[in-house]
């Protein structure tokens, strides 16, 4: 693999936080009625739609914004639409206290970066964050606070650097 130092390529992300609570399930991230969709651009039009601030999110989300959530983000269904829609909405990074297994896999496999941060709930909506996903440093520029998220595993970094699982598998032969 090309990951000579196993670091994430272009690891620094800077963006505005969109805060959500605990146990945001995949039906809230991507409502079941859109499951038959196979077009990723169409999927992106429904990211976070089922949450209580879905309408606001879809209207105002900007490329580079960061989703911040509580524990067990992405619990529920195996629908990868959830990860694809978030990424399609211009979000490249999701920070949460913890992630549900399948959602987390789907993110790694589609090269959407997730970071686990115990203090995620201290971040306020609209805070500007600067995050180094390689080192796990989270700098809340609005509040002037710094945190350290759990580092990504080597395998996750390799898959993300390859551009997702399928590209990784292809290049691994």
């Amino acid at each position: 693999m090309e990951s000579h130092n196993s670091g994430i390529k272009n690891p620094v992300f800077r963006g505005r936080a969109w805060c959500f609570g605990d146990d945001i399930d995949t039906d809230q991230i991507y409502p079941g009625k859109y499951l038959p969709l196979t077009d990723k651009v169409e999927m992106a039009k429904h990211a976070m739609e089922g949450t209580d601030r879905g309408e606001e999110f879809l209207k105002h989300v900007q490329p580079g914004d960061i989703i911040v959530a509580g524990k067990n983000f992405g619990c529920g269904s195996s629908r990868e639409h959830a990860a694809i829609a978030i990424k399609g909405a211009g979000i490249n990074l999701v920070i949460a206290e913890s992630f549900a297994r399948i959602f987390h896999r789907n993110c790694v496999n589609t090269a959407l970066i997730t970071l686990e941060l115990k203090e995620a709930k201290e971040i306020n909506d609209g805070d500007i964050l600067e995050v180094n996903v390689d080192t796990g440093e989270v700098n809340n520029l609005t509040q002037g606070k710094r945190y350290k998220a759990a580092p990504l595993s080597e395998l996750e970094k390799e898959i993300i650097n390859a551009g997702g699982l399928l590209k990784y598998l292809k290049s691994a032969g």
């Binding site: 809230q28 409502p31 009625k33 499951l35 038959p36 196979t38 639409h81 896999r105 997702g164």
Partner: protein, 416 residues
């Protein structure tokens, strides 16, 4: 070693510890009418016309939108039928039922197997000692290509359940009670092993109910050590080379919980979370509009039999729609032969063809805003069955009793 550690040890060829990342060879890769078309799209985009890693180890099931309700769904199913023909993959069409149950009934899964599929409730295969994992479409496309996937080895939680289950208290009441205690994130990224006398005495249907709701605790997979109950089912479904699996005596568990269900009363999960569980008696009398008996959690023959026992000779309340859905064609046949269809139809129930049915919007039976449903399924997330609808989760006994009364009702009332 715990059960998952043993399975991963055998599949990877090396001893594993919790939190390690490893690559595991897969025994079966499944996809279905939901997720499946996206898998085919990913596979073709990335691997073109290449064959799948082993077409004998792949299965396609149609269980969600069956028969298709609109052109988009019909086209999705067509994509899968064509892919199955191209690759020589076994496909179970709209007349078969819930995927995981179909895999079991067709002898495609046995203890020790690692199985992945596009359904978050694949882990119910833990009921027979197999490691089933729900996955997204990229994972499944990768699995089709390579026959292996990456895993993070989970810690294991041991849950010991003691006490004799007495009708109308069922496995569903037990698992809801456990869920109440562990909460929806209580087994986050963990494997579970269920043991104790209650579990040992459960039939396969009850074990499936237990294992399926590990998903609602955010667990990876929930195992029950297979015994003669399971071996007999497997043998009768043409499975050969069955090897028992059990945890080592000195296996390391992250946590151990013990529950005594001797005095357990019927349980119900109130809207909008599967762990919002109380005794049915606490919410008895609440008016309901619809009842659903079915799903991968409670759609087996034994579940339908429990419902029939209550419905026999009675009518569903005039203000309630009762929808009954057998998990599979085999279950439907059993139910028909046992005379359950006659009971259901005479009671005024709507009996639907086998499948997942009311587990997503898009299936007939969606709720209108403000409507309330009791479901034997596994999730009552807000909006899952229609915006503004409310869902309670309960056992087939509680669901049937409530359908008759038109309000949330303890099945104890029908048991003297």
């Amino acid at each position: 070693m715990t059960i998952i550690e043993k399975i991963f040890f055998r599949a990877s060829g090396k001893r594993v510890k919790p939190n390690e990342y490893i690559w595991i060879k897969l025994d079966l890769v499944a996809m279905r009418d939901f997720g499946g078309p996206n898998v085919v799209q990913e596979f073709k985009e990335n691997f073109g016309d290449m064959p799948v890693f082993d077409n004998k180890k792949v299965a396609i099931t149609f269980d969600l939108h069956i028969p298709p309700r609109d052109e988009k769904v019909a086209r999705n199913q067509q994509v899968l039928r064509q892919f199955a023909r191209e690759k020589g993959i076994r496909l179970f069409d709209v007349n078969t039922g819930v995927g995981q149950h179909i895999l079991l009934e067709n002898g495609l899964v046995k203890p020790w197997d690692v199985v992945v599929g596009t359904d978050s409730h694949m882990n119910l295969l833990g009921a027979i000692g197999a490691a089933g994992f729900g996955m997204g479409t990229t994972d499944i496309a990768g699995a089709l290509y390579k026959g292996k996937l990456w895993f993070k080895v989970p810690h294991t939680i041991k849950i010991v359940v003691n006490g004799i289950l007495k009708y109308p208290i069922t496995a569903k009441d037990v698992i809801l009670y456990i869920l109440k205690n562990l909460t929806t994130s209580g087994a986050l990224n963990r494997a579970i092993e269920f043991c104790g006398e209650t579990i040992r005495m459960m039939n396969l249907s009850e074990r499936i109910t237990m294992a399926s709701m590990v998903t609602e605790m955010s667990g990876d997979v929930g195992f029950i050590e297979p015994d003669e109950t399971v071996f007999e089912f497997l043998r009768s479904h043409n499975v050969e080379n069955i090897e028992p699996i059990s945890a080592d005596e000195n296996a390391e568990y992250e946590r151990v919980y013990e529950f005594d269900i001797t005095n357990l009363r019927p349980q119900i999960a109130c809207p909008h979370s599967p762990d919002n569980v109380v005794d049915v008696a606490e919410v008895a009398g609440r008016k309901i509009d619809q009842v659903f008996i079915g799903s991968c959690t409670n759609g087996r023959f034994e579940d339908l039999k429990i419902a029939a026992k209550i419905l026999e000779g009675k009518r569903v309340n005039e203000n309630v729609r009762l929808i009954i859905v057998p998990a599979t064609h085999e279950v439907a046949q059993q139910a028909e032969e046992a005379g359950l269809y006659r009971i259901f139809l005479q009671s005024g129930a709507v009996v639907v063809n086998p499948g997942c049915a009311l587990c997503t919007t898009g299936h007939p039976g969606i709720l209108a805003p403000g409507e309330v449903m009791i479901s034997t399924s596994n999730r009552n997330f807000i909006g899952k069955l229609g915006k503004g609808g409310e869902v309670y989760l309960a056992s087939p006994a509680t669901a049937a009793a409530s359908a008759v009364r038109g309000m949330i009702t303890s099945p104890m009332e029908f048991w003297s």
